[in-house]
């Protein structure tokens, strides 16, 4: 007997939730308990009274599973709203990364040149290294990191994705 796997679709979910103790554990735990994937998860409070947080989750699964994930999230008592950005129409998604690269001579110049192409900023430098700050889609950051790997990538820190629907309305 072999265990079958299903095809996955990438979805970006945006949640507003009550900013209370344990909310992150509740959400992350739901994903592990029901066997859903989390590619990235970001959270921060977004109102002046600190009452509400936005959580952005990048997940994957067959359409039926995505639908279940949303229904299960909506069922959690502190969850105000779940929006599937991937389904809701055009949306903007961004991720920020810090990328440390070391090298000298030609490598150093090439790193700077590539950073310029990607509109990455230098936020720290030594004689033998840079830290670049780059924002963009996950793909863009993946590409940048892949190029830096060839030059002398030391380490990477990424925030995970945040996203909002386009246009003047709230999702």
């Amino acid at each position: 007997m072999h265990i079958q796997e299903e095809l996955n679709e990438r979805h970006v979910l945006s949640l507003t939730v009550a900013n209370e103790a344990g909310i992150l554990a509740r959400i992350a735990g739901l994903f592990t308990a029901r066997g859903y994937n989390i590619d990235s998860l970001t959270v921060a409070d977004i109102t002046t009274d600190h009452a509400i947080s936005r959580i952005t989750i990048v997940t994957g699964g067959p359409p039926k599973v995505i639908d279940q994930i949303i229904a299960q999230l909506e069922r959690l008592v502190p969850v105000h709203k779940v929006t599937d950005l991937t389904e809701a129409g055009p949306f903007v998604e961004r991720e920020l990364a810090l990328v440390k690269v070391s090298g000298t001579g030609e490598d150093r110049i090439e790193a700077l040149r590539l950073a310029d192409v990607f509109r990455a900023k230098v936020v720290d430098t030594t004689i033998e290294s840079f830290i670049f700050e780059i924002t963009g889609t996950t793909d863009k950051i993946d590409n940048f990191v892949a190029l830096m790997r060839q030059i002398g990538l030391v380490e990477v820190g990424r925030t995970g994705v945040v996203g909002l629907t386009r246009g003047k309305e709230a999702a």
């Binding site: 735990g29 039926k64 279940q68 229904a71 909506e74 069922r75 959690l76 008592v77």
Partner: protein
């Protein structure tokens, strides 16, 4: 002890001198809330971290405390109380082991949608996280087996949380809610006022169905040639009115009705439209009717794997309507054509009203009923007779017969073959009279549930149909029944086996009965005597009727050790992962082994 809040500023607390409301301790606030919420009984067990609450309950004139013998017992009692009365069950336990012992019952209540509030003591706030004596991360442990849970760090917030906890436990799809209360919060004081009616910021279950969906459902029903109403525990949770509406809906449409294990009693078993339970041990006619229907209206059930069998063969030619208050139950395992998110009672009322205003009449379903009658002729619940041994099915049939005249009978069960036989051979005509652990299948549920039901229904005849193995899982609660004089009847179908396990081993593992024999059983009659109960042994078919009569007529709690045929199997049966049409009707169809795919399913 005035409380120093470490929380954020701006809490709605009255500060220092200028309050008019009297300050009370957290423990007193809790008890006050319970009274305001109409709580009459608490099932609990004391310990260090709840001593202030126990002191507040000492000789309390309004709240009755039922002292259990094990915290798991308290949770199942609360479930039995809740399921039989429609009111939430309340549990009070101490921190650490008290809370962990409650976890099984909490999970059971989650799976079966039982409204329950579990109050757990916790170590003082400044000790949380230090591995203090009897500290357990109750909130972490119960996060995934509760509908919601709370840690209260400020006595000023306790009343709001308690009221919210009851609201969440009892509305929408009901479930268990844990409130963890550190000991210093029970001792510290804060002003108490009964919280005003509130609207929750994010939790708002949808009660009323979308009108367009109701319209579509009514037209689908009116046009159906082979409809079936597939009902579940949601009808019972929705309340007595929902059960009444179900009868009206069935009457109006003439459709056959089947139900899950959890829904038994919502529709009367005495009705000619009743097909019996469906699923793994359901009747031939209900499973075939599901398979051949052109329209399935699922009302408060959730297409559980015990019901559907092999998914790709489940009701292949039907359109499906699913009414459920929990949107996540819809399209979870079976995709439906028409989802209706609503309270089932409210949705049925809307459907009935629209059906009437459209002047729909009962369609001619005679061809469908003829087909159903053909399946009924299989007599799938028939069982072999024996002159020497008590057939377990016969024991249930006799129990049913003997209690039919009793005004109010509540049946609880443990888990195993006896549970299925009780579901098959006892007829339920009213909701809230059948209490069983469906979703979690918890051995040890039935006996404490019976005590809880008896506490909530002092005048009812409460009988727990038990197995010899299951009953031992919470047998210590005999002391509770003695102490509170709850005259529960513990009717044990003693086959000296974990019969259900043995049956699967016979089916799947060529009768290698690995660890399923109930060795070293206690003498149940002597055990009864040890606790001050009455013990009765029924050894042969001739004693069955009189033994049952004696059990019913004996005041106070009674154990019946009913010795039944040891190797009986529960049929009909759809093996795990098989289609409804592959039902086994009797032992001659059992091969003794299964494929690895089937073996991998529970």
């Amino acid at each position: 002890m005035p409380f120093r809040s470490s929380g954020r500023k701006g809490l709605p607390r009255t500060q220092g001198k200028d309050f008019i409301v009297a300050e009370k301790s957290g423990a007193d606030i809790l008890v006050e809330c319970l009274i305001d919420l109409g709580v009459e009984v608490v099932f609990g067990y004391p310990g260090g971290a709840v001593l202030p609450i126990y002191d507040a309950l000492f000789n309390h004139p309004k709240i009755r405390h039922v002292l259990v013998r094990h915290e798991q017992g308290a949770t199942h009692m609360a479930e039995g109380y809740a399921r039989s009365t429609g009111k939430p069950g309340v549990v009070l336990v101490t921190s650490g082991p008290g809370a962990t012992n409650a976890v099984t019952g909490i999970t059971d209540a989650l799976m079966d949608s039982i409204p329950m509030i579990v109050l757990t003591g916790q170590v003082a706030t400044q000790l949380i996280g230090t591995d203090a004596f009897q500290e357990a991360d109750t909130i972490g442990i119960t996060r995934h087996c509760t509908k919601h849970n709370y840690l209260v760090k400020d006595p000023g917030k306790l009343a709001g949380v308690i009221h919210e906890a009851f609201h969440i436990a009892t509305t929408g799809r009901p479930g268990p809610v844990v409130v963890d209360i550190p000991k210093n919060v029970q001792v510290a004081t804060a002003p108490y006022q009964k919280p005003e009616a509130f609207e929750h910021a994010s939790y708002r279950p949808q009660i009323k169905a979308d009108a367009k969906a109701i319209d579509t459902a009514v037209e689908m029903l009116a046009a159906a040639e082979r409809p079936i109403l597939y009902t579940g525990g949601g009808v019972i949770n929705s309340g007595l009115e929902a059960a009444r509406l179900l009868r009206e809906l069935a009457d109006m449409t003439g459709a056959p009705v089947t139900s899950t294990l959890m829904g038994l009693g919502a529709f009367p078993a005495s009705s000619p439209q009743w097909l019996g339970m469906l699923g793994m041990h359901g009747t031939y006619e209900s499973n075939w009717a599901m398979n051949q229907a052109d329209l399935i209206v699922c009302i408060g059930a959730r297409f559980d794997d015990r019901v559907t069998g092999r998914l790709d063969a489940f009701a292949p030619n039907s359109r499906k309507v699913h009414i459920d208050i929990d949107r996540s139950s819809i399209n979870k395992t079976v995709e439906v054509d028409l989802p209706i998110v609503a309270d089932v009672g409210s949705a049925m009322a809307d459907m009935i009203a629209l059906w009437k205003s459209r002047n729909h009449h009962k369609a001619d379903l005679s061809a469908w009923w003829k087909q159903i009658d053909g399946w009924r002729e299989q007599k799938s619940l028939a069982y072999p007779e024996s002159a020497t041994e008590i057939m377990p099915q016969e024991a249930i049939a006799q129990l049913y017969k003997a209690t039919r005249s009793a005004t109010d009978v509540i049946i609880t069960t443990e888990v195993g073959q006896h549970q299925m036989w009780a579901a098959q051979h006892f007829g339920f005509d009213a909701p809230n009279k059948w209490l069983t652990s469906g979703g979690l299948g918890t051995m040890g549920y039935g006996f404490p549930a019976a005590i809880g039901a008896q506490v909530g229904n002092p005048d009812s005849l409460v009988i727990c149909v038990a197995g010899d193995a299951s009953v031992q899982m919470n047998i210590q609660e005999m002391g509770t029944a003695s102490q509170y004089r709850t005259p529960v009847k513990l009717f044990i179908l003693n086959n000296e086996y974990m019969g259900m396990v043995r049956q699967w081993q016979e089916l799947t593992y060529e009768s290698r009965y690995s660890n399923s024999y109930s060795d070293s059983l206690p003498d149940f009659v002597k055990l009864a005597e040890a606790y001050g109960w009455t013990g009765i042994r029924i050894e042969g078919p001739q004693e069955l009727e009189s033994g049952i009569r004696q059990m019913i007529d004996t005041p106070g709690p009674v154990i019946v050790d009913c010795r039944v045929a040891k190797l009986s199997n529960c049929f009909p049966m759809i093996p795990s992962g098989a289609a409804h049409t592959d039902m086994l009707l009797d032992p001659s169809q059992v091969s003794g082994s299964l494929s690895d795919e089937a073996k991998a399913l529970v």
